[in-house]
Symmetry: C2
Subunit: 309 residues, 2 copies
């Protein structure tokens, strides 16, 4: 029998990669077989974390076979998962996102908790199983929390995430602030990215009522740097909107130092962004969303409400 | 602020009622407020358990208000839940069924495990929280396990359910076999039920691919007793099929002593029952499914596969 694959969402981020690695480690230590894999390229932020703690990235897969046993971390919506996921046999899910567009034939282990990061749930699962977290795994779990919480500053960050981060930092022997800022800055280096890269490297698709919405997010130290190529980014976004028949494509450039986001909206749903966040686009397709850093807790929720009105 | 309601599915069975009561007890003991409620009439089996352990049935509600905080036990599919559930704020789910037709705006506590009974998960949750189970609650949780597992004999019954049942029987101070058979027999007394009662008292609706399927189940000591009124039962089923535009209405009379089920199928999907279980209906709409007792693990799975073919 082949081992079940464990993977996070497409366009993997640090939580997705590190949670797949950690959960496979935990499974192996309690005597269950599992192989961590990924559904896309490792980004620079994640690579920084992997290099720092000396861990290899998991192998990449493109699709899953009919009937293959799989374990999902950090996502549950099928459109964010592997190709052919609807025909796989999902045996377990560990996630911290809303539940949507998920369906199985039989009961499974399904664990979602409203915390800031999958890694926080996994840290708890190590304790529940009585398995000590190694320095490497602690480093990966901490990196995931720092990434998802923008150094514990995002509104998605809960007291549980903060406690987990401090516990893990001690085991990983790093200073959260110093290490975290270096890791985020490594991820915010977008100098070698094309316009196409920027809008796909961390893009997720959502169903909001009848609407099909894609939201891409990048972290940056200076968002004006990114918008030097606004025209090219828009042209690439237009293509995707047409191709996938999107109602809205929202590109979110998040300033990791000031904790604001400058967004670019393409598609007929642009007015939903304007009304939801009380901003105007002024002929330009860009708007500044003050204090908005979380796709999940601030953007998806607001836009879902707007599209359901 | 009003306390969140905790409830199980429509047409409540013993697991749904007892799990709502037990989870509310656990919540209250860890300092969280919650009120158990139910979405329908308490059946005779459940009433036997409540009377035996001296516990009052929860109040009945008809629908939930927009934005009301609710906690679901023993179900997650919206069509099995309270009226207006899609506009409630679901903060938690504890269940042991497949995940389907469920969607929230934000992350929540969602815990599904592939065991035979919600009560088995709740028994584990008491331990995780370090709260001792009282005699009354142990009795309710045990009754739920006996009910869902047909006295630990159903294929849905896992080793975890069996262990939980033995633990709980000790606290509840009852003999599983003796108490369990009395409870099941109380539920199998259908002498005062009309044909309409029989097909609605434990009916659940399922989406299977494009098909809309309703499956009603009753336990009986002698299934031939039930089918004395086959003509009336069929007439009532025909009405429901028309009303709800069902592709299939399957009525399942389960023999609790021999662990077989005699089914009655109405609707264009009848051939799916024939092909799925390799039986023939022979002009009559009835067939004996040898060894089939579990709606969830034997009937829903088989029919879902047939409808997706």
């Amino acid at each position: 029998m082949t081992k079940p694959f464990i993977f996070g969402h497409k366009n993997p981020d640090t939580d997705t990669i590190c949670s797949a690695l950690a959960f496979a480690d935990l499974k192996n230590k309690i005597g269950e077989e599992a192989t961590p894999v990924r559904l896309g390229v490792v980004n620079k932020e994640t690579q920084f974390a992997l290099d720092y703690f000396g861990v290899e990235a998991p192998e990449q897969i493109e699709k899953v076979e009919d009937g293959a046993k799989v374990i999902l971390v950090d996502h549950n919506e099928f459109q964010q998962s592997a190709e052919n996921i609807e025909n796989a046999h999902i045996i377990e899910v560990v996630d911290h996102h809303r539940v949507s567009n998920f369906e199985t034939r039989e009961a499974l282990y399904f664990r979602v908790e409203p915390v800031g990061c999958t890694a926080t749930i996994l840290n708890k699962m190590y304790k529940e199983k009585g398995i000590p977290v190694t320095k490497e795994i602690a480093g990966l779990l901490l990196s995931a929390i720092i990434s998802d919480s923008l150094l514990l500053k995002s509104p998605t960050c809960t007291a549980e995430d903060v406690d987990a981060a401090h516990e893990l930092a001690e085991i990983a022997e790093v200073n959260i602030e110093t290490y975290g800022l270096k890791m985020l800055q490594a991820g915010a280096d977008l100098s070698d990215k094309s316009a196409r890269d920027l809008i796909t490297m961390d893009a997720k698709e959502f169903s909001m009522g009848e609407a099909k919405v894609e939201i891409a997010q990048v972290n940056a130290v200076d968002t004006s740097d990114i918008y030097k190529s606004q025209a090219e980014i828009e042209a690439e976004m237009e293509k995707v909107v047409k191709e996938k028949e999107l109602d809205l494509f929202l590109f979110v450039a998040t300033d990791i130092l000031n904790n604001d986001s400058e967004v670019l909206a393409i598609g007929s749903g642009k007015d939903k962004v304007a009304s939801g966040f009380a901003v105007t686009f002024d002929g330009n397709n860009r708007a500044l969303l003050k204090g908005v850093v979380s796709r999940k807790k601030q953007i998806v929720t607001t836009l879902t409400d707007e599209f359901l009105k």
